[in-house]
């Protein structure tokens, strides 16, 4: 498993990085591996509000449908439209395949760094 040290992670297996004032959100290597082959993704629209700890979309794999949980409160300013047609990008490179970008961030969940997250994943297995 690969957990880049420059990212922060949530216990629901999303990663987050700040690009200036904009939060970039995706799912972790652990998440994509646990999901298996991703076949569909449902995303919010630009302009939608997201809330820390609340679902903002979902991913469907051949195994199950899982919520995508936002680590921040704010407004969606971009979605990765490539994923709508090619959700397999999440399996191929989950750190390149960001899912949404959020601006106007007012609240952020307590997040883990790469080492803490790796330890957390070990207990999840």
């Amino acid at each position: 498993m690969n957990y880049p040290t420059e990212l922060k992670y949530s216990k629901t297996h999303e990663w987050l990085t700040m690009d200036g004032d904009v939060a970039v959100i995706g799912i972790s290597d652990f998440a994509q591996d646990a999901l298996g082959d991703v076949v569909f993704i449902n995303l919010p629209e630009v302009g939608d509000d997201v809330f820390a700890g609340e679902p903002f979309g979902d991913v469907e794999s051949v195994k199950a449908v899982s919520d995508l949980v936002s680590p921040v409160t704010g407004t969606v300013c971009a979605i990765n439209e490539v994923l709508l047609d090619a959700p397999e990008a999440l399996n191929e490179d989950c750190y390149e395949a960001w899912i949404i970008k959020v601006e106007g961030v007012t609240q952020t969940e307590d997040l883990l760094d790469a080492t803490e997250y790796e330890e957390f994943c070990a207990t999840e297995e």
Partner: protein, 469 residues
């Protein structure tokens, strides 16, 4: 194997019907289609062979072991089918004059009485056509109850994270917000998590007991008490009733309404695409909210969720099943289902991990996670390999709280020999995977269809044949 359309030869047909010897009476043109329907043109014997060939390629409970968990794919006694086929049942019409179908009315009333006795409820409807439809009806009872009292603040339905996916879907369909609560480490309801979400906005709780990991929730009385104390109602998902029928009653556990899958538990073949019946029972105080047929019962002020009395012949099978097993046989069936599951669980023990190492009810869950770490083989690989032994794979990747889950429900009718053989098969797959994971990863090797491309099938499903230009 070719599709029936690919076997079609233009102009070929069956000469069963003679030439029409009366004048053709055409429909008005606006009701007629512009082109002929695309139907295969074949001889009768080739049609017969086509379907027989299809029949040889499927696996059903009459072909071999079929241990799907959480679904009760059990063997249904033939006598139930015989009775449902009697002309007086199979040939009736819902609008037949009441005095010509008194026997059928008696079937409905008697089956209702017996199912109330088994579930601990006071009233029953047979309108819902299947399980999810029954859930929808049950939660509508809860909604009507709160609405009638003017209690509009109750907007949330609580569902544990181990629930069948239909539970949150039902709550959402009824206009409720779904509140998911995590399970305790033993797979049961976490009482603290439940207490934390209960409040004046709680409309109700949806629960399966035994739950989806096959464990009877020992706190059930406390759970229903807490929900009632908060002003909510308790809905029982009858998916796992096969474990407890005649032994303990949902009504006595504190539930207010329930659906039962007559097509799982009470002798209608399940999984064949229907018809089913999701009988819904309730306590007396909810009776006024049960659906009824406007045409048949003259009930214009009640909700109606399906035409007439529902799928009546499923009811005939259920009543036959209950009366042939009787007051002793019904609990014995459940006890054997539980005994078989526990026996099989202990025979398989020592190979794949048990997700919950404790006495189970009618089903149990294996956790392939540590095996996957060791061999790279997933629950999917193990399931595919079982096909090579002539066994239907168990449920995979459910419940979601066990990540590499295989869930087995042997049911009451399997013999010790079958269960021993099953344990041997699991052991054989387990051992082979340790020394030759590539072989298991490539399975099934002997089946008609190898590994379908599930990703392609999900993204680009081809569900309709179209002729090539």
């Amino acid at each position: 194997m070719k599709l029936i359309f690919e076997k079609s030869v233009a102009g070929r047909h069956c000469d069963v019907l003679g030439k029409c010897d009366v004048d053709y009476a055409p429909l008005p043109e606006e009701f007629c289609r512009e082109s002929k329907p695309l139907l295969p043109e074949m001889s009768e014997v080739d049609v017969s062979r086509h379907y027989t060939e299809l029949n040889h390629r499927v696996h059903g409970v009459n072909c071999g072991f079929y241990p799907l968990g959480s679904c009760t794919m059990k063997y249904n006694p033939r006598v139930d089918e015989d009775i449902a086929g009697l002309k007086g049942f199979a040939g009736i019409h819902p609008l037949a004059p009441a005095d010509t179908v008194k026997g059928c009315r008696e079937v409905i009333d008697t089956a209702g009485k017996y199912l109330c006795e088994i579930s601990g409820m006071d009233a029953m409807t047979f309108q819902p056509a299947a399980g999810a439809h029954g859930e929808f009806t049950g939660v509508l009872l809860i909604k009507q109850y709160h609405d009638k009292r003017g209690d509009t603040a109750r907007t949330k339905i609580i569902v544990p994270d181990s629930a069948h996916g239909t539970n949150p879907a039902t709550a959402a369909m009824c206009g409720y917000k779904v509140v998911n609560i995590p399970s305790a480490p033993n797979g049961c309801v976490d009482l603290d998590a439940l207490r934390a979400v209960l409040g004046p906005d709680t409309a109700g709780l949806m629960l399966t007991n035994p739950n989806t990991v096959g464990i009877f929730d020992e706190n059930i009385l406390e759970i229903t008490r807490l929900v009632h104390e908060a002003g909510g109602l308790c809905y029982y998902d009858g998916a796992n009733l096969n474990a407890i029928m005649g032994v303990v009653r949902p009504g006595d556990m504190g539930f207010d309404c329930i659906h039962m899958n007559l097509h799982k538990t009470f002798a209608t073949p399940h999984g064949g695409g229907g018809p089913g019946a999701g009988a819904v029972g309730c306590k007396a105080f909810l009776k006024e909210f049960l659906p009824a047929s406007a045409l048949m019962d003259g009930a214009k002020d009640r909700i109606q969720i399906r035409s007439f009395a529902g799928n009546f012949l499923v009811l005939v099978r259920a009543l036959t099943y209950i009366t042939t097993l009787g007051k002793e046989g019904i609990p014995e069936a459940s006890q054997n289902a539980v005994l078989n599951a526990n026996y099989l669980m202990r025979q398989i023990e020592g190979t794949f991990d048990l997700a919950y190492d404790r006495i189970c009810m009618h089903e149990f869950v294996l956790d392939v996670a540590s095996y996957k770490k060791e061999t790279g083989l997933s629950a999917l690989d193990v399931a595919k390999s079982l096909i090579d032994y002539g066994m239907h794979p168990p449920t995979m990747y459910f419940p979601l709280i066990v990540h590499e889950a295989l869930m087995l429900e042997p049911t009451e009718t399997e013999t010790k020999e079958t269960l021993d053989w099953t344990a041997d098969v699991f052991r054989a797959v387990y051992e082979r995977g340790k020394v030759d994971p590539e072989y298991i990863h490539g399975s099934p090797h002997c089946a008609q269809i190898k590994r379908p491309d599930e990703v392609m099938a999900s993204r680009n499903p081809v569900v309709r044949w179209t002729p090539q230009e």
